[in-house]
């Protein structure tokens, strides 16, 4: 019970954290400071509450009557919820610290308070969403989350771009909500209550419908590939710490919904897992491919979030297949990897978004082609970025590798169970993951190289410098988490294990022993890797960093006068991959037309717009917006017609009544 009150306290503190700033003048920073304190307190309370639950063997729940029709105010914190609660408590708190440097109230008197208020509301609603055990409460928290995210993301609504992105987001999220309403209505029709208790009766037809509705409804929020249209724009145009929270935590709420719903069905079909694996593969590969094509530093990160959601879905699909075959080890490993990846992604993605925010703060542009050579001006930022990049590329020795490793193992294990023909497709998830890996490396090497390495491409980055401490501290904390999970994977997995068994619906049994052994090996090897690399570094230290008086340019293969314009640009780096995937990415090249003898001044521009949004969704909406209003011919202001309508409808009703 205490844990529930702690979590409620956290939710309350989060919700009011920003509102109190309205008591102070827009110019004073006192409110923002108090906000940070409240957020930290809330995070502390929440984490301690979660810790209590994790320590205890079973879930705690509270169920009191509520005067909304047919619904009860029923909350429940189980281990599965805890896994999703921890990021909700940690990331926003760090974000509020980050905001002091990034969105200083003094510098943004016009919208700082609004941002703070909705930022806190967003965090609080997400926490409530996770503990909600009643559909109506769930929907309320869900929608508060969606709407406060909208307001937090569109604080700069004076720019058309932001407004447009906000509108797309709002529409997308509302369509998703409609699917969820249908799902919960159907849920009540099937189970007879709004409570999210495991389904007793096994009516597979309805279960399938519920599952599809859930995947679509939550998929809009999580950003599954055809439904991701709102995601890049919203993430790119929001303030960076808001993007961090949206990408790191809010998307996970969609995942949470799917995980939670799938945990409620007594039995699953094979096609559920198959569908998720296919969607996951498409989402992952397409997402990262689109990321490679972008030039907007935050759009890159947004698309890479889509990719990670794809990975998570792959894991979940694998777990569902395991559930279908009743193989506990597959379920345990795959779902363990999935949940761990949820954590990992929320760690390194928020790190990277904050990092991008620091860069934008420094050069006042989101276009990476304007950057370059920042590594020498902001070395700390670059160090943090490299760590985040290695982590998100799932490379050892950092945390990303652990979760993907588990998902790989899960897929490999599906080789052995059930030799039915329908089954052969599932292990191909391994290949999907293997295809995502190098693409991710390409994407983040491109980002690293274009933003931090080489020479600066524009004068804008001339006076760039490392950000203030308030922005560095949260990032360093996240980096520490990356290292920790990467080096000691057993500890987080022990927390996650219980969540997995909540999902499986069986009493706690161990992860397969081989896993723990392997993880032990992995952490040893990772440590060895770090140590030996560091050792070599020390060995060569004085040779590598030897002071030289003469300045040596990069050797440009004999060309005498290289300029920084001649560097390999980010888009040309990505070009070879983009060209190969042209069928999917539909890049828009504006080739220069140069006359033969005396070429005039010409320009070349390339970009990868979002295929689904720009080639499908927007055209459809514009057509609708153009043709639907044509019904207005029936209302041209002639009162005779109006009276005639009355007569007609009377006759029509008489006919219908027959």
């Amino acid at each position: 019970m205490l844990s529930i009150f702690l979590v409620f306290g956290a939710i309350f503190l989060f919700c009011i954290s920003g509102l109190q700033a309205y008591l102070f003048s827009p110019q004073s920073q006192t409110g923002q400071k108090i906000t940070v304190v409240l957020m930290m307190l809330g995070a502390f309370a929440g984490i301690s509450g979660v810790a209590l639950v994790i320590a205890s063997p079973d879930a705690v729940s509270m169920n009191i009557p509520w005067t909304l029709p047919w619904s009860r105010f029923s909350v429940k914190i189980d281990h599965l919820g805890c896994v999703f609660l921890l990021p909700v408590f940690i990331v926003p708190a760090l974000g509020s610290i980050y905001a002091i440097g990034y969105w200083n109230q003094k510098l943004h008197p016009e919208n700082g308070q609004r941002l703070g208020a909705f930022f806190g509301l967003l965090a609080g609603s997400m926490a409530l969403l996770v503990i909600a055990h009643d559909s109506v409460l769930f929907m309320i928290a869900w929608e508060v989350m969606a709407i406060s995210a909208f307001f937090a993301a569109t604080v700069e609504d004076d720019s058309l771009q932001v407004r447009h992105a906000g509108l797309v987001y709002l529409i997308a999220t509302h369509i998703g909500t409609m699917f969820l309403l249908a799902m919960f209505a159907l849920w009540r029709y099937t189970t007879g209550s709004f409570e999210l208790n495991p389904m007793q009766s096994d009516s597979s037809a309805v279960a399938g419908t519920l599952f599809i509705l859930a995947v679509i409804g939550f998929g809009f929020k999580a950003g599954l590939m055809p439904l991701h249209v709102w995601l890049p724009g919203a993430h790119a145009n929001a303030p960076s710490h808001v993007s961090a929270v949206m990408s790191a935590v809010m998307l996970k709420m969609g995942i949470y919904g799917i995980v939670r719903m799938t945990s409620l069905f007594p039995s699953v079909e094979l096609w559920w897992g198959g569908m998720l694996v296919i969607i996951g593969a498409v989402t992952g590969i397409a997402g990262i491919a689109f990321a490679i094509g972008q030039q907007d530093i935050k759009r890159i990160l947004a698309y890479s979030s889509i990719e990670n959601i794809g990975i998570i879905l792959l894991g979940l699909g694998c777990a569902l297949v395991g559930k279908y075959y009743g193989s506990v080890s597959i379920m345990a490993i795959a779902l363990g990897g999935t949940l761990l990846h949820v954590w990992n992604h929320s760690i390194f993605k928020s790190l990277l978004f904050m990092n991008a925010g620091a860069v934008i703060h420094a050069v006042h542009s989101r276009d990476i082609e304007m950057m370059g050579g920042l590594g020498k001006r902001m070395p700390l930022t670059m160090l943090l970025f490299v760590t985040g990049a290695v982590a998100i590329c799932a490379l050892p020795p950092l945390n990303g590798f652990i979760s993907e490793w588990l998902i790989y193992i899960g897929f490999f294990q599906t080789l052995d169970v059930g030799n039915t023909r329908s089954f052969t497709a599932i292990p191909l998830g391994v290949v999907a993951l293997a295809a995502i890996g190098p693409l991710a490396i390409a994407c983040f090497v491109k980002m690293l190289g274009t933003v931090f390495l080489g020479n600066e491409r524009s004068s804008g980055s001339g006076h760039a410098h490392d950000p203030s401490l308030s922005m560095l501290i949260p990032m360093s904390a996240l980096v520490a988490l990356c290292l920790f999970i990467g080096l000691f994977p057993i500890i987080p997995l022990n927390i996650i294990r219980n969540a997995v068994f909540v999902w499986i619906g069986q009493s706690a049994l161990e992860l397969p022993l081989s896993m723990t052994i392997s993880l032990g090996w992995i952490s040893w090897i990772s440590a060895a890797l770090l140590l030996s690399a560091a050792g070599l570094l020390l060995l060569f230290k004085n040779k590598l960093w030897r002071k030289t008086d003469k300045k040596i340019e990069t050797w440009s293969c004999g060309y005498s006068a290289p300029t920084r314009k001649m560097q390999y640009s980010g888009s040309s780096f990505g070009d070879s991959i983009v060209k190969l995937l042209r069928f999917m990415l539909q890049p828009s090249d504006h080739e220069p037309k140069n006359s033969l003898y005396f070429p005039k001044k010409s320009s070349f521009k390339t970009g990868v717009p979002d295929t689904v949004l720009d080639k499908l969704v927007l055209p459809v909406f514009h057509l609708a917006g153009h043709y639907f209003p044509m019904v207005r011919v029936f209302q041209r202001g002639h009162i005779h017609m109006y009276v005639l309508y009355i007569l007609i409808i009377v006759l029509v009703l008489f006919v219908l009544g027959r």
């Binding site: 070395p379 090497v445 390999y568």
Partner: protein
Amino acid sequence: MIEIALHVLLLLVMPPFLLGVINKTKAWFGGRKGVPFLQVYYDIFKLFRKGMVFSVTTTWIFRVGPLVTITVLLIAGLLIPMGSFNAPISFTGDLILFAYLFGLSRFFTTAAALDTGSSFEGMGAAREVTFACFSEPALFFAFLVLAKISGTLSLTPMLHGPLNEYSAIVAAPLVLIAIGVFIVLLAESCRIPVDDPNTHLELTMIHEVMVLDHSGPLFGVITYASSIKLFVLSALLLHIMLPFQLDQVWLNWILFVVEMVGIAVIIGVTESVMARLQLLHIPYLLISALLFCAFGFILLIR
């Protein structure tokens, strides 16, 4: 214990020799006498004695890159079994670690290349990451086949799988993935027809062009590292191509060395008889490798 010692010894000492063998083979085919077998060793030692030059553009990434690469490849070498012997380190799922260690090395190599700000190295890096997008899935297809055959997820027993049961059912898939992995090997260790290690036209190079700016010991490290890469991948290929062992344990070491040299010769021959592919056609070659492995898997699973 003795096995481990031998393993490490071979891993550290033998790789440059393979390069020597390859060069010798190519020289013979060219009707030349060719550089001595140990030339690569001489080069590496010479480089280690030299000083280093650093462009003002570069940052620590440029310096760290090669060191990380060699560390990573040595660890990868510890994961791969040599011939019929077990690898020093072997646990369930180490194959994924093996593959991702290569990824790590790729990350830092390409990053170091971009660090110089030279467009040539940028091109090299771009090609490197692009081709990896095909070679890694191919590798994992191969792993799928091996895992299905051996029923384990650890490199050592997995690669010994063909050794134990080289039946007719698995023969066809094994041949297919052997071809696939061989192409991957050529691509990863930048050999003809994918890349030409000793041309001086920067535009045609992938790996060599990425390290244009490295000099002295660092360049030595890089050369050494690439030879280790070749060694490790050949050792992997070995199990698929020639899964033989003799009943005399110590003979197996000899056998392994011989087989490795054999593979080096094969590579040399391939390099001599083939011409370098046009850059735009390399993806098709790699896709074919991918398809070989995929067919292998489908053949096995059906």
